[in-house]
Amino acid sequence: MVSASVAALISITLDVDLLDSTVLVMPLYILLLIFIVPNYYACRGLPIRETPWLVLLGSHLLILGVGTGMWMLAGEAYSRLLDSFVEQARWVSIFERSLYINLSIVIIQFEIVALIHYLYLALEATKNLQQAALKQKLLISQAELQTLKATVHPHFLFNSLNTLSNITLSTPEAAHRFCLLIAEFLRYSVAYSKKNSAALSEELEHIQNYLGIERERFGDRLETSFEIDDSLLETKVPPLILFPVVENAIKHGIDSCIEGGLLAIVVREQEGSLVFEVRNPVDELGRKLKGTGHGLASVKQRLKTRHGEKALLKVERDNGTFIAKIYLPLSNEEEVLPE
């Protein structure tokens, strides 16, 4: 299209035969398409926002100069070639006389193509950005859902409901207290996903609520002990990162032992880390519950995404005792990175 109109333009302004100008111009403009290609790579290589404008201008002028120069040489060679086939030489003169028209059109085309490339790249970048943002959002909500599912386990709800149904008939006051515990527990579990971090004291209260519920269910089989370094109570921790370890201790530890046992929680500082330790008896020959270790695996995953190598979940088995320790970095930064 461009070449056809250029051919017409030349034939009118220079008063030459339309066929002659078309024969000259058509292949040259197809050739131009090839010379323009490097433009695309130049645009990719020189992002418009990040390149200093002098460099940007210089490089584009250089590409333009080399491109048009080469194109001019090709045009000269082509018109000579055409002239050598016929007796009445005319193309070289047409090419030379039309050079100013051709040059300006070629330059304009070069720059339009560059502009289009930049526009295209900008569009692509925004699209990629949007996609990445969406993907990130999806990942976050998936992680949240998983944690929530692990937090409010259906078995836990069933068990609590059964306990509740039994105490409503025997001791209504106890049933009321039990409802309060469950309400507090659920409120915290549901609200946590909106928070980026929680104070250790809040997390411990949540754990206390949970243990209060389970104590009602287990009766004498569950004993608990706490040994907390009070200076750490205001430390910010990822919400609900400690809870799954306690839940695991109940589900796979205390509940595996006929006589139950002591669930001991210790929070202390050690070499710049907050250490959360849970110790409980486990019966290796007890009935194996399905899904063992899933909750702990997700804690590990969360710790890794959030703190990388600085946080850790360590698990030990020692002759009927199960010990799980979470190490969280104690930093001065107030803000904890989002997961």
Binding site: S165, N166, I167, C257
Partner: protein
């Protein structure tokens, strides 16, 4: 109806949660033709109490520590009385109960459901036909992978043996003798059936009548050119058959 009220149904309750035990006891107190003769906190007690009191009926919780409801049933074997299973959420169990037309109750207890179950129980105990629990257990075994422990009952006592602590198992008619380092336990089972559930890389049938845990094997001695003997770490000697020797060599 009148004759039934004269001989009351003797029942026991098995549940690991104190509130659940009380709740069941309270719910059952409404039935004048039923008397609760025992309340158990776990499977071990349940086996003991059934053995000692021979009740007509057990209300058996499924989810319990160490021994769950199915384990109790397995250990009781033919001695198991009429059972009503009690469960809160075990999906597999509920399906199995329905498939085998067994009585089960869901927690929390629905008084109406309990009434219906009691009607069925009166009929069943009146007719003296004992329900078949074996299919229920077979189905469950298929679901489990390799056996990690072997349950053995000796009268009222239950032993849970870790598979790794078993040296060898001998077959004797309908029984198997399970030898650990410090004791021998008798269990009503077939050696072949047991072998199928054990890790074939750990247990080798060295003889038609003997299954050996190769971790306890010390050495093999040739007595005559055709008879070989396995010497265990304890010094115990076990004969090896020809095909048993071939299997053992493959394994080692």
């Amino acid at each position: 109806m009148n004759s039934e009220s004269e001989t009351k149904i003797r029942a026991i309750i098995v549940d690991d949660e104190p509130h659940a035990r009380q709740g069941m006891e309270r719910a059952l107190s409404d039935f004048s033709d039923l008397v609760i003769v025992g309340i158990c906190e776990n499977g071990l007690q349940a086996v003991k109490v059934v053995n000692e009191l021979q009740p007509d009926l057990i209300f058996l919780d499924i989810q319990m520590p160490k021994l769950d409801g199915f384990d109790v049933l397995e250990l009781l074997g033919d001695q198991a009385p009429c059972v009503v299973f009690v469960t809160a959420y075990d999906e597999y169990a509920v399906q199995a109960f329905e498939a085998n037309a067994l009585d089960y109750l869901l927690k929390p207890l629905d008084p109406e459901r309990l009434n219906k179950a009691m009607e069925k129980i009166r009929e069943r105990i009146g007719s003296e036909s004992s329900p078949q629990y074996t299919e229920l257990l077979v189905g469950r075994e298929r679901e489990n992978e390799l056996l990690q422990r072997i349950l053995v009952r000796d009268g009222s006592d239950v032993h849970v043996l870790a598979v790794n602590s078993v040296c060898y198992i001998e077959s004797a008619d309908d029984y198997v003798a399970i030898h650990t380092e410090d004791a021998t336990h008798i269990k009503l089972d077939r050696l072949g059936k047991l072998q199928d559930k054990l890790d074939p890389r750990q247990f080798c049938r060295i003889h038609r009548l003997c299954l050996l845990n190769i971790n306890f094997l010390s050495r093999i001695e040739t007595e005559t050119k055709d008879s070989k003997i396995a010497i265990l770490e304890s010094g115990k000697e076990l004969p090896i058959s020809r095909s048993g020797y071939a299997d053992l060599k493959k394994l080692l």
